[in-house]
């Protein structure tokens, strides 16, 4: 799922403080899972902003709200009135949601409360780790289910490099070497012969490099 982290409070405050009215708008799907941007977090953030505004003797009418997902049109129905009369929106959604709101409300400034960081899993409660880079050409079938694009800091397809040490990546002792994991998996699956197969050169045009991607279903 999409993981994001709330921006530092001071940064958020600087973005919104000059408005007279503000809607703090939560998104209750992905960013609620990591407790950064859900409707509950929107309520808390709104409260913090009010406290700051009071102390700095700045008058802003701050209201909070939220919807299930800020990336699909139908969910916006329930918040239509709220958004129509907002001078500015502080969206706690991921970058996708922020842009979606901006597109729907061309004349309303929309600010991101989060830094959208990565696509990842919930490894444990409160621990999210990057697992996918949306490269558009999945090789998980040949790497024993470990992604070299998102989990190897050099996205090597024929790894490991010479910096792998005790199963850890050269850039940090806290980072598992993805290729150590690949080798472990291939061994467990009895597929070590696959290790010596040379992975072909990647077609990065299917990735971000080829430009913004879109996908259209013919039957719609």
């Amino acid at each position: 799922m999409i993981i994001g982290e709330q921006k530092p409070f001071d940064e958020i405050w600087e973005m919104v403080k000059d408005h007279k009215q503000l809607l703090v708008f939560g998104c209750n799907t992905c960013v609620a899972v990591c407790h950064q941007g859900g409707n509950k977090e929107a309520e808390i953030l709104a409260s913090l902003l009010r406290m700051r505004a009071t102390q700095e003797e700045i008058d802003i009418d701050i209201i909070n709200g939220g919807i299930e997902r800020q990336c699909e049109h139908p969910f916006f129905e329930s918040a239509k009135d709220l958004l129509d009369k907002s001078e500015a929106v502080l969206s706690l959604a991921c970058g996708i949601g922020v842009q979606f709101v901006a597109e729907k409300y061309m004349n309303t400034p929309v600010y991101p409360a989060l830094n959208t960081t990565f696509l990842g899993d919930v490894k444990a409660d409160g621990l999210y780790t990057e697992k996918c880079q949306a490269c558009g050409d999945c090789v998980l079938g040949v790497t024993g289910g470990v992604c070299p694009v998102s989990r190897c800091c050099k996205r090597i397809f024929n790894g490991p490099c010479g910096g792998s040490s005790n199963g850890k990546c050269e850039i940090s002792k806290d980072l598992d070497c993805a290729w150590q994991l690949v080798v472990d998996r291939l061994e467990a699956l009895g597929k070590m012969d696959d290790y010596e197969k040379l992975a072909p050169v990647k077609d990065w045009s299917k990735d971000r490099a080829g430009g913004p991607r879109s996908f259209k279903l013919e039957d719609f």
Binding site: P8, F9, D10, L48, M51, R52, T54, Q55, E57
Partner: protein, 59 residues
């Protein structure tokens, strides 16, 4: 980030059956807050109220 002393917030864990402990915590904490005095938010709100009243007077 909002100028409030973190000591003003405390999390305690107890069950509904711990009546005496609950009373103890309330007393303890109230005494603590009284010593700390009003929060900066209270001061700011007072100031806001006062200036609103002053404006009304002159209106």
């Amino acid at each position: 980030m909002i100028g409030v002393n973190p000591e003003r917030v405390e999390f305690y864990n107890l069950s509904a059956a711990q009546g005496p402990r609950w009373a103890e915590i309330c007393t303890e904490f109230t005494e603590k807050i009284i010593t700390m005095g009003p929060s900066p938010i209270w001061f700011a709100l007072q100031k806001k109220k006062q200036s609103a009243e002053t404006e009304k007077q002159f209106a």
